[in-house]
């Protein structure tokens, strides 16, 4: 029980990374992490062992789904603009990948990020999303194919701008 809080704390940087890629807006991403932590702390007594990391990612993934559902009620919510390129990597490349992520359907984006960015196994992702492994694999395949197409489409456009 004593280990609960330090274990949660150790996960914060990785949760922020996942949330940042998922929501693509740094403030909203940290809101998601904050809400995940609040909920985790509140449910501390409900957590009876098991995989803390998967549990936190599950909460964050569900919160983001809830958030998107309630945003969907606002008809003219403008899409988020990517405005915070990281120092690492070239800016154009960073914008490309985050634009490509934006074209993905929510569950596909979550699978892609959990596997490729967070290094989760297919089994863990299946547990987080509450679906069979086969569904995880087909979401991943579709996500990769979409992103590949989006990235290939982005390059000529950039050249034209130049």
């Amino acid at each position: 029980m004593i280990a609960f809080r330090p274990s949660v704390e150790a996960m914060i940087p990785a949760l922020r990374r996942y949330a940042r890629a998922l929501a693509r807006d740094p403030d909203i991403a940290d809101d998601l992490v904050q809400d995940t932590l609040v909920r985790a702390l509140r449910s501390e007594k409900l957590f009876v062992g098991g995989d803390l990391r998967s549990w936190l990612y599950t909460i964050l993934t569900n919160l983001n789904r809830n958030r998107r559902r309630s945003l969907a009620r606002q008809p003219q919510f403008t899409p988020l603009v990517e405005n915070a390129p990281d120092a690492s990597g070239t800016e154009a490349e960073g914008r490309d990948i985050s634009r490509a992520l934006a074209t993905l359907q929510h569950d596909q984006r979550a699978v892609l990020l959990l596997v490729m960015l967070e290094g989760m196994s297919y089994r863990e992702v299946a547990d987080i999303q509450g679906v069979p492994i086969g569904t995880v694999m087909s979401r991943l395949a579709r996500a990769r194919s979409h992103v590949k197409t989006a990235l290939e489409g982005a390059r000529p456009a950039l050249r034209r701008v130049k």
């Binding site: 809080r5 949660v8 704390e9 914060i12 940087p13 990785a14 922020r16 990374r17 940042r20 890629a21 403030d27 909203i28 940290d30 809101d31 992490v33 904050q34 809400d35 932590l37 609040v38 909920r39 702390l41 449910s43 409900l46 957590f47 549990w55 599950t58 909460i59 569900n62 919160l63 789904r65 809830n66 958030r67 559902r69 309630s70 945003l71 969907a72 009620r73 606002q74 990281d86 120092a87 690492s88 990597g89 070239t90 490349e93 960073g94 490309d96 990948i97 985050s98 990020l113 490729m116 960015l117 196994s121 297919y122 694999m137 991943l140 395949a141 990769r144 992103v147 590949k148 990235l151």
Partner: protein
């Protein structure tokens, strides 16, 4: 002399890139890639994609964690909503809009309510569900721990509305709130499971014939409505027909036992 290769599937290519391929297939996949340049190109593109993701987002873990995410603060201090203003404005808008909407409905009542009360019920319930499940700090007005929750909502909607026990579905009652309904006030109970999924029960006086459980999915969210003794009820949650119907039946049985 090598043995003829078992054809490599696309799933195996993904598994290979993700380190999920059984060890005894790795050699076969690598041999396959040498003779199938298109597949090799895809595998290369996926790897580049992974590198681009890490280049773009990997640095986040090196950032200092903002103070608002410190656990000690989260336990004691209330959350400083970045959405605070936006959420307040949205609620004000919805309440304002809601009053306008009820007024409109009442004005148009003879035709519109008679047209399809159950559809109106569904629309109001889904609207409330979608709005409040997204609220993290204030999903409810009165918490389940407050003894006056059930008597208060019952009094306002004019019937005993006990909050069903949905522990069998891993759902815990968070609390409830009062809403402008279709022609009279409505009550909303909110439940949550440990993974953060939320289910709501909506109830309001409704002049309509008693009905069975009607399931309707609206994208990822679905609801089950029924009418009994001049009250309309709706259970809303993630789209899952057998589960939601079963929750609706359990709620119905417990509510009618009053």
């Amino acid at each position: 002399m090598t043995e003829p290769l078992i054809p490599v599937t696309e799933d195996e290519l993904h598994a290979y890139v993700d380190g999920e391929l059984p060890a005894d297939r790795i050699k076969a996949v690598e041999a396959w890639l040498e003779t199938h340049p298109e597949d090799a190109e895809r595998v290369e593109a996926w790897r580049a994609m992974g590198q681009a993701l890490h280049a773009r987002y990997g640095g986040v873990v090196e950032e200092n964690v903002p103070r608002r995410l410190e656990l000690d603060r989260l336990v004691s201090a209330p959350r400083r909503w970045i959405f605070g203003a936006a959420a307040a404005a949205l609620v004000a808008f919805v309440i304002g809009g809601g009053v306008g909407w009820s007024a409109r409905t009442v004005a148009a009542a003879p035709t519109e309510v008679a047209a399809d009360p159950q559809e109106l019920l569904r629309r109001e319930a889904i609207t409330a569900h979608k709005l409040y499940i997204g609220e993290v700090r204030h999903p409810i007005e009165v918490a389940a721990t407050e003894a006056h929750l059930v008597p208060w909502l019952s009094r306002r909607i004019g019937t005993t509305l006990r909050a069903p026990d949905l522990a069998a579905y891993d759902l815990k009652l968070l609390g409830g709130r009062l809403l402008p309904g279709i022609t009279a006030p409505a009550a909303l109970y909110m439940y949550e499971n440990p993974a953060g999924e939320r289910v709501t029960l909506y109830a309001t006086p409704l002049k309509a014939a008693a009905s069975g459980f009607i399931y309707k999915a609206d994208n990822l969210v679905a609801s089950v409505e029924w009418v009994a003794e001049n009250y309309g009820y709706a259970v809303s949650g993630p789209a899952d027909k057998p589960r939601l119907k079963s929750i609706a039946r359990a709620s119905y049985e417990q509510i009618e036992k009053r």
